[in-house]
């Protein structure tokens, strides 16, 4: 539970969806993240999306690694099974789960450290395999849970709260996912529900590996150069005791902007990110074009958001493996055990 004021998830009404579930049925435990953490906004978007999709909550399996982001599955879909696995290895656990029962919806939640640093290998290979899932990275460029070190998505040259400067090339998970064969690749911003909720819904509907990179500012440690030149008790205080002694509760950062537009979002500490939303006429089906589009905007200092690449009628892992329609975890003795007669023949062939 959390003990500082934070934006509650609102319930304008107790409206019910086609299955008769209210939005509450898609909620989880109360968040223990920092007030104003972008991850909470993403949890809200996930709740909204699944509510609108009319999915029975218990037919979803939530899997995550380790991190503040990976904690969030506790805060949504309380009636789904969840698995907080080990750091950076959620993709393999999700793959196994997906093999065991092809009938559930698999939602993988991870962080940039969890997926781009320790987990890069598994991230890459799960995309290649076309596992039927929605894979969300709550991307804040830092390791939140371990107190603000750089992750592999941190911009080159950015400065950490401790003053360290990042010298490594940042990893763009969207570019990576496309080159690795993911068939649904999107990016959004935690505070942009208008864009994020529909993307999550589309990702769930997609058959195959769907990846969404969600920029999600970290209240406590976000690593953009602090620009508040004004005198600030708290900053000065934290600097002098040189650890994060006091964390100011914040409001979540929200933004709304139209397709085709670019928008500069100011973060809690005054840093900014410039987002560019793909336009209505953008064609996500051309892989080469998508990569070029990303590269040009990157060069222009813009981060592209929206559905960036889509390979619509793609085959998933089960198609490739040609597994039976019945979930493997539902097969019984007779389906599985060949019995003694077969064994007699086998023995004979070994003499």
């Amino acid at each position: 539970m959390t003990y500082l004021a934070k934006p509650k998830i609102h319930h304008p009404s107790l409206a019910r969806n086609a299955l008769g579930f209210t939005r509450r049925d898609y909620e989880g435990a109360i968040s223990t993240l920092c007030a104003g953490c972008g991850h909470d906004s993403i949890s809200a978007a996930i709740i909204q999306a699944f509510y609108e999709l009319d999915v029975p909550p218990h037919r979803v399996a939530k899997l995550s690694g380790i991190g503040c982001s990976s904690k969030t599955p506790t805060y949504f879909l309380g009636n789904s099974h969840g698995f907080n696995s080990v750091h950076g290895r959620m993709p393999s656990v999700l793959t196994g789960a997906a093999l065991a029962n092809r009938d559930l919806i698999y939602l993988g939640v991870s962080g940039d450290g969890d997926s781009a640093s320790i987990g890069l290998g598994q991230f890459a290979h799960v995309m290649r395999r076309g596992v039927n899932m929605v894979y969300i990275v709550e991307n804040n460029g830092v390791y939140g849970l371990t107190k603000g070190q750089f992750s592999a998505t941190a911009d080159k040259g950015s400065k950490s709260k401790r003053g360290a400067v990042n010298s490594d090339e940042p990893i763009d998970l969207v570019t990576l996912a496309i080159t690795l064969g993911a068939t649904f690749v999107a990016r959004s911003f935690s505070g942009d529900k208008e864009q994020l909720v529909p993307l999550i819904k589309a990702a769930v509907a997609h058959r195959g590996a769907a990846f969404i990179d969600v920029l999600s500012p970290c209240v406590a440690f976000n690593n953009h150069p602090g620009s508040t030149k004004s005198y600030d008790y708290v900053r000065e205080h934290n600097e002098s005791v040189n650890f994060l002694d006091f964390i100011s509760p914040r409001e979540e950062i929200t933004t709304e902007y139209a397709p085709g537009e670019a928008r500069t979002v100011v973060l809690h500490d005054g840093g900014t990110v410039r987002l560019h939303k793909v336009g209505r006429h953008y064609d996500p089906s051309d892989r080469a074009a998508a990569l070029g589009y990303l590269e040009t905007h990157r060069a222009a200092g813009e981060i592209v958001t929206g559905l960036i690449y889509l390979h619509a009628d793609s085959a998933d892992m089960h198609d490739a493996l040609d597994t039976i329609e019945t979930p493997l975890n539902a097969l019984g003795d007779t389906d599985l055990v060949p019995g003694s007669a077969a064994l007699v023949r086998l023995n004979a062939s070994l003499r």
Binding site: S85, R89, T95, G96, G121, I324, G339
Partner: protein, 617 residues
């Protein structure tokens, strides 16, 4: 060089060793040699000694023809088929005095390269091949069949058995059958002309093979997994475990393809590494499928973190560990039993795991199937501890058996009906006092029985907590569960010596092959030992009882650090001074000769055979 006549004929009791070059086609020819003798009803113990290489390095195949049906290596060689110039000196040196040396005499060799005390059988194989075949690759390939022919004449092996094997092996490929027949005949004729056939060491038809089958442990394990109901396999290639996963694939294609749809009732993923393999297994098992991975030491090392998670999150995962020489970059093609500690206590923190130790392919099949019941029943990882000797060598072993009355035991899984009926569900609640809680499969019930899976920091109802007492409560339940495991793993096999004795011997796994022969020898030597073959960890009380019932107990292991002894001392709290280690760890399978010598020596020191020694006084 001498070629005098040997008087003493030895029927069905000798060792032939083939020295070849890797990738030269000798493997299949040598296999035919062993199987032809089996078809004559004569038991063999055959072992392949191969390098970590694909083509060009030395490789050996050792066939012990043993009417008595001993399964271990004897040590020493009676007939050396020296086809590899590069290892010539070493190979010649390995021959027993009075032995036979068969070689390709096309190029003349210095007399100094031979030995006076062995009979040399030279045959111009290359010359024959060059005269007969034009294609270079055929010359190489059929050279093997020609020496096979020669050996059949020298050792009195029925050619019709070999030809029948050709027929089976090249079924439908008449051209190949023919060509092989011709090569075989060529070899036989040449030998019959050149040498006094058969040699005093020879094969005579017998009925000692019976129902037994000739199979490797990796295939047996794979088949066990099929019968154990495994549906998900995730693996990463790693010698000597790769062929286990690969044969699971071929058995599944045969036995698990849905006749109606032609679709698969199984899924096999060749993962990107071992961390992913075990992760996939954990995810699948968490979600209610029976899942396994096959690996070896280096893989187990990479899986440590996940194994800790599986222990605490209580996930039924099955691991086949085909042990090899350590470490990662060493001795991958050699056998060892050196991963006991790294498996029994896998992962950081307080963890203990269930291990089972099959002794041969037959037991590997049975344990391979049983492992999945154990894992589901105990909701914890289960290791099937094999080794390269069991896994990759063909063993003459009892046929596989299956009781059709048996049902898969899926353990404590709470159903939708039970939940609907309002049965209390606490993921970590010890309802039955055996330390084993109930679990639910994801997606079972709309509003009941779902839970969030974590390592620790949880209470009996899987709610998040960092409270000390909740942690201790859970850790103690896990110990109770481990107690329960003792009675579920395969019990040790205890047999008494023919005479009452105050000494005993303990062994496990592939060591059994050499053990029985050694024990027989020791009895002749007047050393009587009660026997216990360990088959499961944690240990039932019978293990401690056996040890405390004897003054001295020998523990035979194929590792340097006496790892099984450590497990027994730790878990049974017995005085280590009672346990005398017999350790073999050079990477070759332990031999009866080695065990007998070591035990006999130490027995005297530890004064194990008072009766005999007083008698001698």
């Amino acid at each position: 060089m001498r070629t005098d006549v040997h008087s003493d004929v030895r029927v069905n009791d000798f060792v032939v060793k083939f020295a070849n070059v890797n990738g030269s086609g000798s493997a299949s020819a040598n296999g035919l040699f062993a199987r032809a003798i089996l078809r004559m009803g004569v038991p063999v113990a055959a072992r392949n000694i191969f390098p970590s290489n694909i083509q060009g390095l030395p490789t050996w195949y050792e066939v012990r023809v043993t009417g008595d049906g001993w399964r271990g290596r004897r040590g020493g060689v009676d007939l050396m088929v020296a086809m590899n110039p590069q290892t010539w000196d070493k190979d010649v040196a390995e021959l027993e005095p009075g032995g036979w040396l068969f070689y390709d005499s096309t190029k003349p060799l210095q007399p100094s390269r031979f030995r006076d005390d062995v009979t040399v059988l030279g045959m111009p194989l290359t010359a024959i091949c060059n005269a007969t075949y034009t294609d270079a690759r055929q010359r190489q390939l059929f050279k093997n069949i020609i020496y096979l022919g020669a050996l059949s004449a020298l050792l009195d092996i029925a050619p019709e058995e070999i030809e029948r094997l050709f027929g089976e092996q090249y079924k439908g490929k008449e051209a190949l059958i023919d060509a092989n027949r011709k090569a075989l005949a060529m070899g036989r004729e040449h030998a019959q002309q050149a040498f006094a056939c058969p040699l005093p060491i020879r094969v005579a038809r017998s009925d000692r093979v019976g129902e037994r089958i000739f199979v490797d442990g990796n295939s047996a394990a794979a088949l066990g997994a099929v019968y154990g109901g495994a549906t998900v396999a995730a693996w990463y290639p790693l010698t000597p475990s790769s062929s286990l996963a690969e044969s699971f694939g071929s058995y599944c294609r045969k036995l698990r393809t849905d006749p109606a749809t032609g679709k698969k009732r199984y899924a096999i993923i060749q993962a990107e590494d071992e961390l992913a393999s075990i992760g996939i297994v954990v995810g699948a098992a968490w979600n209610g499928a029976r899942a396994f991975t096959a690996t070896s030491g280096p893989g187990v090392s990479l899986m440590q973190e996940f194994l800790g998670l599986a222990y605490f999150a209580e996930i039924p995962a099955v691991l086949f560990n085909v042990q090899r020489g350590s470490p990662s970059t060493g001795m991958p093609t050699r056998t060892q039993q050196a991963d006991l500690v790294s498996c029994a206590y896998a992962s950081h923190g307080d963890t203990k795991h269930v291990l089972i130790f099959p002794e041969d392919p037959t037991e590997t099949f049975a344990f391979g199937a049983q492992a999945f019941d154990l894992a589901d029943r105990l909701q914890t990882p289960v290791f099937v501890m094999m080794d390269l000797d069991i896994g990759m060598q063909d063993w003459l072993t009892e046929p596989f058996e299956w009781d059709d009355a048996k049902r898969l035991d899926r353990g404590k899984v709470m159903t939708e009906a039970e939940l609907e009926a309002g049965r209390d569900f606490g993921r970590y609640l010890d309802v039955d006092g055996d330390g084993i809680p109930y679990r639910t499969y994801p997606g079972t019930h709309p509003s009941k029985g779902s839970y969030f899976t974590r390592g620790t920091s949880k209470d009996r109802y899987a709610r998040y907590t960092e409270e000390g007492p909740a942690y201790v409560d859970n850790m103690q339940r896990l110990l109770r569960k481990f107690e329960t495991a003792k009675s579920l793993v395969p019990a040790p096999v205890i047999t008494r010596a023919s005479k009452p004795t105050r000494s005993g011997v303990i062994w496990f796994g592939s060591t059994g092959a050499a053990m029985s022969e050694s024990l027989a020898a020791l009895e002749l030597d007047g050393i009587h030992l009660d026997r216990m073959r360990l088959r499961g960890f944690p240990f039932v009380d019978a293990v401690a009882d056996f040890i405390t019932a004897h003054d001295h107990v020998f523990v035979v292991e194929q590792n340097r650090d006496a790892q099984m002894k450590s497990l027994m001392v730790n878990e049974c709290g017995i005085d280590p001074s009672r346990l005398i280690s017999i350790l073999h760890y050079d990477g070759t399978p332990i031999t009866a000769r080695f065990i007998t010598r070591e035990i006999a020596e130490k027995a005297r020191v530890f004064n194990v055979t008072p009766l005999r020694r007083t008698g001698a006084a």
